[in-house]
């Protein structure tokens, strides 16, 4: 799978193969196939290896005979359910569509994998089969968030690959998040912030103070600007491009944001059907409201990316419909095309080099002292 470090983007004629787990999502394989069909229509150079139950998938694929040359069906007996424990799936997951989808990366036959199955199991199988990148301590899940600027997205990580993170891990998250922002979002010099309860230097836990000092010292090596501490209000703002935090905090913030967006949308819908005048108004503003809906639609920013493994794995929402699946496959295609994995591995190596004199686990040695180099 590896190519020389001098390779840049795929050439214009090259095929880009994405491995897709058809099973395990809340809406079943039909939604996955529908999303797949949309993606293939959008990207000429995209081919897909589809993993799952042949009996269920074959009839769905037969409706699109024109796509047959671009879809390879790989039968898998079993499915990982949302209830399965990651540890169980690690031990007994062989033969599932998820395992098979990850193994296509391992064998080098696909450049990225997409699944909307059980997140914990997907991370466990990915860790087991792909292994961590050399020099990396903790992999992370990165997600995208909308901002006030049209088309501009922010990256936050970790979203729950692991519930804790040491200062050295947060430094590696910053390097990986910046690389993802550069290659996935096209930001040449991302601004990176560390999530805290205030922007003042003295605020927050001791490990954040330590990570803050490390980031200030090392940002140059990662080709990003470190903007210091950011707050919860900054996640959806244009103050920053990459928000670094531990998996526990990131997961809570992600779900709080999703819950808020959902509540406001629901209330808006109720409001615009509450009176005849409101209904008429909504009808008139329909076009504009539809554009807004699409812009803040969580399905379109769907897709957490696993960073730090020897393979690009994209986790789509369990409840993703065809729009969500297509967005996740589109992201996989984009990352495969720019050879993100090689670029990321180079960044992790440079973070490792940069962090050698103190980036790793160890007692915090005071937060006010300035580094000696």
């Amino acid at each position: 799978m590896a190519t020389g470090p001098s390779s840049v983007s795929a050439t214009a004629s090259e095929r880009v193969v994405i491995s897709v787990d058809a099973m395990g999502g809340d809406r079943g394989p039909a939604a996955v196939v529908a999303g797949l069909v949309d993606s293939l229509a959008q990207h000429d150079r995209l081919d897909v290896i589809l993993h799952g139950d042949e009996a269920a998938l074959r009839p769905l694929l037969d409706r699109h005979p024109e796509l047959a040359p671009r879809i390879t069906l790989r039968h898998a007996e079993r499915v990982v359910t949302m209830e399965d424990k990651p540890s169980q799936v690690m031990r007994h997951g062989q033969g599932t569509s998820m395992w098979s989808a990850i193994d296509s990366l391992r064998e080098g036959e696909a450049a990225a994998a997409v699944s909307c199955g059980n997140t914990g199991a997907l991370m466990a199988v990915s860790m087991l089969r792909l292994r961590k990148m050399p020099g990396l301590n903790r992999p992370a899940i990165a997600s995208l968030f909308p901002t006030p600027k049209p088309g501009k997205m922010n990256v936050m990580l970790d979203m729950g690959a692991d519930v804790k993170a040491e200062p050295g891990d947060l430094l590696q998250f910053a390097f990986m998040g910046a690389s993802y922002a550069r290659n996935g979002l096209g930001l040449s010099r991302p601004r990176v912030g560390l999530l805290n309860v205030g922007t003042e230097e003295h605020k927050g836990r001791a490990e954040l103070q330590e990570a803050h000092a490390l980031l200030g010292k090392r940002a140059g090596a990662g080709d990003f600007d470190y903007v210091g501490f950011v707050e919860g209000t900054d996640i959806l703002s244009d103050r920053v491009d990459v928000i670094v935090t531990d998996g526990f905090t990131g997961n809570v913030a992600l779900k709080a944001i999703e819950g808020t967006a959902r509540l406001v949308s629901d209330l808006m819908r109720q409001t615009l059907t509450s009176t005849l005048m409101a209904k008429l108004g909504a009808l008139m503003a329909r076009g504009a409201l539809g554009r807004l809906q699409r812009r803040i639609d969580p399905r379109r920013v769907n897709g957490g990316v696993f960073l730090g493994l020897n393979g690009t794995v994209i986790k789509s929402h369990g409840s993703a419909d065809s729009t969500g699946i297509a967005a996740a496959i589109g992201l996989a295609y984009q990352l495969a095309q720019v050879r993100f994995l090689e670029r990321l591995a180079a960044r992790v190596a440079s973070a490792e080099a940069a962090g050698q004199d103190g980036g790793r686990v160890g007692p915090a040695n005071g937060t006010g002292s300035s580094p000696t180099e």
Copy 2:
């Protein structure tokens, strides 16, 4: 200030005195006085002691001569600014309007205090002058959040009084939050949840596992139902009434929710002025949209309450305008009226009694084992 434990609510003729810090908010004393005037109009039995710069306040008050008998002006030379460090204010804060407002509680001349100044300084001064309730380890800040049910609010704590919390602290937060939900929101048997990255029993950090076991065992003594782990999406839901978390996570979630509500509102405003049709539609739906706006308006759910001190202190948003200030004073009035402080102290004492056999700091002794009593 203390009355017998048999006392219930204030009698119908009794005056309710609230101490208000007029200075230190982002919008200056004019916004505070405007909010005060609204509150006095709403609550017949409310009287106010107003702390701040007499030269600035006297002209503002002189515009409302009819309220003169109900407002006592207490001159304070100095002001705590948003930049002042809590530790500095603790040492040198005497003579500030904030200090003076808290001392009115200490002296027993007011039943609750409201300030829109520096949160850290307000907590520091409140801790110093009022002291923690007997048996309490960490005080907490509780805030209110909207839900899909009209008029129904959720309580989350801690919002940042302290950035960490031991399992025993989370248990005390649950008792205090439930008491606040009962007395401030009128929920007779609140449902309490513990914020985590998933609802499954095995998820999350070790201290959460330990707190989970404690809460399951002790909920009965606090007259609440423990619903187990909840996620970020539940904060604004009707699954739960009280969400318990540490101050770091609570602060990040609060600000993420505020940021999301703000982004969606801003985008909605842009959307509804983007085309002529949208403008006309918005005009027609104006009444309904206005009601929605009021419902999710953060100024109306304004007011973090400090729980666990020998006095009821309400922190209003620094940027609160007159609507926000009036909401905070209204909450102070409500809590003073039901003698919340005495009820809370009784609950803290019962949590302490309930927690005696293991509620406090100590090694987690496994999470799967069932309690022996």
